[in-house]
């Protein structure tokens, strides 16, 4: 598979088939629910099945293309990779097809191919080695509108962090298409906290943070938010979040940034591995 085709394939895969861990989690949620909440989850699962078998996008909001690239500093084809990312977006927009979502913020003009100034959004992270690993996260606008940054006073401590996350996610109600997946980034600075929140979304559901203290916080946040009763689609029920994932960075003594990245139930992800010889494999 060449680079552009491999990346376009990853976008197609992410848009049309939910990862197995997300489907499993939705099925478990369905078993917990009854009444209107259960109807919502049944509709969701039926839709997921149909999208997968026909290879068409799960949701009409196919998102803004976002790539998280970990590139080995010895990877020999970096120049080609830089050019391949927007080209793959154009290709996938035509072939899947994806909804052309990018619009100019001043004129409202839509270029029609999902690219534009700074878009696709690419987060580059150099690592040792000669391989490249790319995560694709097409994220819809409804849930992204619920992503926020809270700059807390450090004095409020972990309790303040819990309060901020729970209050925010519950206040969002049905807007981000719950049951959602919530990525929380604690510490760093304003931009890093939000980025950590997004990176936390890349972790498969069911996988906890390796540090027990962080894992315990994830579990507690899930329990607290689900006790709210917001439920699937904000129509009431036991499952408001499928999971909460937490990441952290060291912080400035005067700042306690908390980035909250909210992702809808259609938690679309795909991953791409590129070997130095140019072999491309798509997973998830």
């Amino acid at each position: 598979m060449n680079l552009v085709r491999g990346l376009a394939e990853a976008l197609a895969r992410a848009s049309t088939a939910l990862p197995a861990d997300v489907v499993q989690s939705l099925k478990r949620a369905r078993e917990r629910e009854e009444g209107p909440a259960r109807v919502q989850l049944e509709t969701i699962l039926q839709n997921v099945e149909m999208a997968k078998s026909r290879k068409i996008p799960i949701c009409q909001d196919t998102g803004t293309p976002t790539f998280f690239v970990r590139f080995g500093v010895e990877f020999p084809a970096l120049k080609e990779l830089i050019a391949a990312l927007p080209e793959a977006v154009r290709e996938a927009t035509r072939s899947v097809p994806l909804r052309p979502n990018t619009v100019h913020p001043f004129s409202g003009k839509n270029p029609g191919d999902n690219t534009g100034r700074f878009i696709p959004a690419v987060a580059w992270e150099p690592v040792l080695g000669e391989e490249v690993e790319i995560h694709v996260l097409p994220k819809g606008g409804g849930s992204e509108n619920c992503s926020v940054l809270k700059m807390l006073a450090p004095g409020v401590g972990l309790r303040g962090v819990k309060e901020a996350v729970v209050e925010h996610v519950v206040a969002c109600g049905g807007l981000p298409c719950p049951p959602t997946v919530v990525g929380v980034g604690i510490g760093g600075g304003a931009d890093l906290a939000l980025k950590l929140g997004k990176l936390a979304l890349l972790r498969p559901l069911g996988a906890r943070h390796p540090e027990p203290e962080v894992a315990a916080l994830e579990e507690e946040l899930e329990e607290l938010i689900n006790a709210s009763g917001v439920g699937p689609m904000g129509l009431g029920g036991r499952t408001t979040v499928l999971a909460v994932h937490v990441e952290y960075a060291h912080r400035h003594p005067a700042s306690l940034p908390v980035g909250i990245a909210v992702q809808c139930w259609a938690h679309r992800r795909a991953a791409v591995r590129i070997r130095p010889d140019g072999t491309v494999t798509v997973t998830e």
Binding site: T43, I56, Q60, G142, G229, M233
Partner: protein
């Protein structure tokens, strides 16, 4: 028995619907998002909306020859249209709104006043929605607004399930639930403070 309403929907049919009930829609479903709402209020609707259903949706479409096909067409977040909806309801008299996430007090009042309902379709279930769209009858303002924001006129057959989330008698499932959630939050806040 599943209830099916066919456009044009009458005031009597709409007034009979109560919050929490489920129905399916056949007939004409017209998409309108933020830009389309704004434009309809400024210069009139490209299609008479009376008795029809307005769908908060920006679809994924594909042109095959001369015909448009709909690939995925679930609802978008309705709250953004709160700015315009009451005026649109009063000025153009659609009977059914289809969206997700619910709308506010101004819309709830206008629904009661003109006799219309706001219905919820499962967010993200774009494929299921597209399945019920039998034909694209027209598209307006495509050139100016682009695919998601254009006004698409769909012919639909048993489109749903649509949950009546806000009825024409002033009841809103979202308002009811918000009160329950607020009550639950008291306990949750105490738990956070206690630990």
């Amino acid at each position: 028995m599943e209830r099916v309403l066919t456009t044009p929907v009458s005031e009597k049919e709409v007034r009979a619907l109560r919050a929490g009930e489920v129905f399916y829609l056949s007939g004409l479903l017209v998409t309108a998002r933020d830009e389309a709402h704004k434009r309809i209020l400024e210069r009139g609707s490209p299609i008479p909306l009376e008795g029809l259903a307005v769908f908060h949706c920006g679809p994924v479409v594909q042109k095959k020859g001369q015909e448009w096909g709909v690939v995925a067409a679930g609802p978008t977040t309705s709250a953004r249209m709160e700015l315009f909806e009451a005026d649109l309801l009063r000025g153009f008299r659609p009977r059914v709104l289809v969206g997700k996430g619910g709308m506010g007090e101004k819309t709830l009042q206008a629904l009661a006043e003109v006799g219309a309902v706001y219905t919820h379709f499962t967010g993200g279930a774009g494929v299921l929605a597209a399945q019920a769209i039998t034909r694209v009858l027209a598209v307006h303002w495509l050139e100016e607004l682009g695919v998601p924001e254009a006004v698409w006129v769909f012919e639909v057959e048993r489109f749903g399930p649509l949950v009546v989330a806000m009825d024409s008698h002033g009841r809103s499932l979202y308002k009811d639930l918000a009160a329950q959630v607020e009550k639950n939050m008291e306990g949750i806040r105490a738990r956070i403070r206690g630990k």
